[in-house]
Structures are given as structure tokens and as C-alpha cells.
């Protein structure tokens, strides 16, 4: 998978939040084979060093980091957060989230496009968390985005691919743009289904972090993503409404 000129052996991008412990997070990242993990910025009290401990753990894993602007509801908030993240994490990559609605955590596509334009002009490589809306996708590309990350379903919902038709249309519409399904994935089969549609990768977090055995689930996702991609590349057959015998009818004995 190639994103902004960087190649990654794995098509899985893993979030780092909500794990039972830092050790289990590290195990899960290693088991997943992910080459990219998402990180964030939050307020730090002066006496703690929680942020530095976390950052040190991530650096030891030797993976690329993708900072996010999670929780930002306005363009200004998202842009400021992105600039702060660039300085702290030393990367111009940003997973751009501008949240528009509290119940679904649906992106505010208008704010997203505006923030994406400001950030790409400032030298950021923007990976926007968007929907499968084709018009918004066009606008994001015009704003300078070179990767699009449509949702599968609302963040943390584990509902899988809510709009397969829309995701398929998006893939067909942008054959050359790296497309990552970000959010809503609950099961390895959801990830495999997205890969079978021809998506370039999957970004997920909760499905692994909240599994009974996060490292095992991380492995399961890695295998599902590989299987789904291989299936896509192998050229799946078209579905049809009626049965068609797979065993040849010619030469069948007359025993009836």
C-alpha cells in the first residue's frame, strides 16, 4: 500500500486507544503487522508524564504514526490541533477529523474540505475522515488530499459496511486514489468485505482494543485483510440470481 509516497507492507492501520494496558497495546500492534498507528494529543497535567511514556512505547514499536484531530468540531480547532501534532510527532501526516454530529460522529464535510485546503496549503499530507459522498470526495481531492478515508459505519459502532453500494461506487469513481475504510469495522469479515471491494486499506481501533484477546483479534484482522485483498486481485466472479450446476451435467448416468 502506498500513501503519500511511502510504501507499507501491511494494509492495516491500527488505532492505539482503549486497550486494557500499554503492554497489550504493544502486543496487538506487533501481532497486527500494521505499519501505521494513529495517535492523538490531549491536555497533560504538569506532574504526570503519561504522554511521554505513551510516545516512548509507540516509538519503540518502529511504526509510522498518523496523528488525528479526533474530537474537533470546527475548522479552527482541527487546524490548530494539526499544527500542534506536527510539532510534537514530527510528521506532516494528519488524519483530519472535523466532527459534525454528536450521535453518529459523522464528519462535517463542509468544514472538512475547508480544513483540508488550509492544511494542504501549509504542507500537510492530509488523510481525511470522510463519508462515501462522491461530491465531497471530489472537493477533498481538489483541496489537495491524495488519500480518502470514507467511514464504514459510525466510529466505534462495529456495524461494518453500512453502505456497500456507496463504497463500491466510490471505488469505481476514484480508481487511482488510495481509499481506506476508516471507522465502524467490528469483525474481520467486515474488513475482508471492504478489501474485496478493492479498498486499499483499513483503519480500525475499537474492534481490536475491545476484543477479549486484542492480540489474537489483531492477527485475525491482518489475515482477513490479506485474504480480502487477494480475493479482489484474483477477480471475483459475478453474483447471479439462479443456481448453475458446478458439476458437469454432460455424461451423467441415467439412473432416475
Amino acid at each position: 500500500m502506498e500513501l503519500y509516497g511511502r510504501s507499507f507492507a501491511s494494509r492495516l492501520m491500527l488505532g492505539t486507544a482503549q486497550y486494557p494496558s500499554p503492554a497489550i497495546l504493544a502486543e496487538a500492534v506487533t501481532a497486527s503487522g500494521a505499519g501505521i498507528v494513529t495517535v492523538s494529543l490531549r491536555r497533560e497535567a504538569g506532574i504526570e508524564r503519561a504522554g511521554e511514556a505513551f510516545w516512548s512505547l509507540i516509538r519503540d514499536l518502529g511504526v509510522a504514526v498518523l496523528p488525528n484531530t479526533a474530537g474537533c468540531h470546527s475548522v479552527r480547532e482541527a487546524v490548530t490541533t494539526a499544527k500542534m501534532a506536527r510539532e510534537v510527532f514530527g510528521t506532516s501526516w494528519i488524519k483530519l477529523e472535523v466532527i459534525g454530529e454528536a450521535d453518529t460522529l459523522q464528519p462535517d464535510l463542509f468544514g472538512l474540505v475547508e480544513a483540508a485546503r488550509i492544511l494542504t496549503e501549509d504542507g500537510f499530507d492530509v488523510l481525511p475522515y470522510t463519508t462515501e459522498d462522491l461530491v465531497a470526495a471530489e472537493r477533498l481531492l481538489e483541496a489537495g488530499c491524495r488519500v480518502l478515508m470514507p467511514w464504514g459505519a459510525p466510529i466505534g459502532s462495529a456495524r461494518g459496511l453500512n453502505n456497500v453500494y456507496g463504497l463500491r461506487a466510490m471505488r469505481a469513481h476514484f480508481p487511482d486514489v488510495p481509499l481506506i475504510v476508516d471507522a465502524g469495522i467490528g469483525l474481520p469479515s467486515h474488513a475482508a468485505a471492504a478489501m474485496e471491494l478493492g479498498y486499499d486499506g483499513i483503519l480500525l481501533n475499537t474492534a481490536v482494543a475491545r476484543a477479549g484477546d486484542p492480540a489474537a483479534m489483531a492477527r485475525a484482522f491482518a489475515q482477513a485483510i490479506e485474504a480480502g485483498r487477494l480475493g479482489f486481485e484474483a477477480g471475483p466472479m459475478e453474483a447471479r440470481d439462479m443456481a448453475a450446476p458446478s458439476t458437469p451435467v454432460f455424461g451423467k448416468a441415467a439412473l432416475a
Partner: protein
């Protein structure tokens, strides 16, 4: 002077953002700063004068999805 640090009121002697970070115990920490909702790069903190009622955000790396 009174400022708001990460949403909480604080009383500081410092005149600049860099001095405020030292006074508040952040001097050697890996943090990013914002003043009144605008990003202040690390190399501009020493020249950033603080005023009464300023809102300072001090952020550090955190888990994220």
C-alpha cells in the same frame, strides 16, 4: 497574573509563554502549545508575551483512534 491553563485557572509570575511552561513544571516535557486557540511553535514561546486572562493549552501525546 491569572491565566487559564488547560481550562483551569492558574496564577503565574511568568511574562512569556516559555517562562510560564518552566514555572508550571513543563520545561523539559514534550508538549505543543496554543495561546488563545492559536498554535504557538516551540521556537516562538520565548518571544510570546502573556496577558491577563490568556488561555493556554499544553498538549502531549496520547492514545488515539
Amino acid at each position: 497574573m491569572r491565566i487559564l491553563l488547560n481550562g483551569k485557572a492558574a496564577e503565574i509570575e511568568a511574562a512569556t509563554l516559555a517562562m510560564a511552561l518552566a514555572e508550571l513544571g513543563y520545561d523539559d516535557r514534550l508538549v505543543a502549545t496554543a495561546l488563545n486557540r492559536d498554535f504557538v511553535p516551540a521556537d516562538e514561546r520565548a518571544a510570546t508575551i502573556l496577558n491577563e486572562g490568556d488561555r493556554i493549552e499544553v498538549l502531549s501525546p496520547m492514545q488515539g483512534g
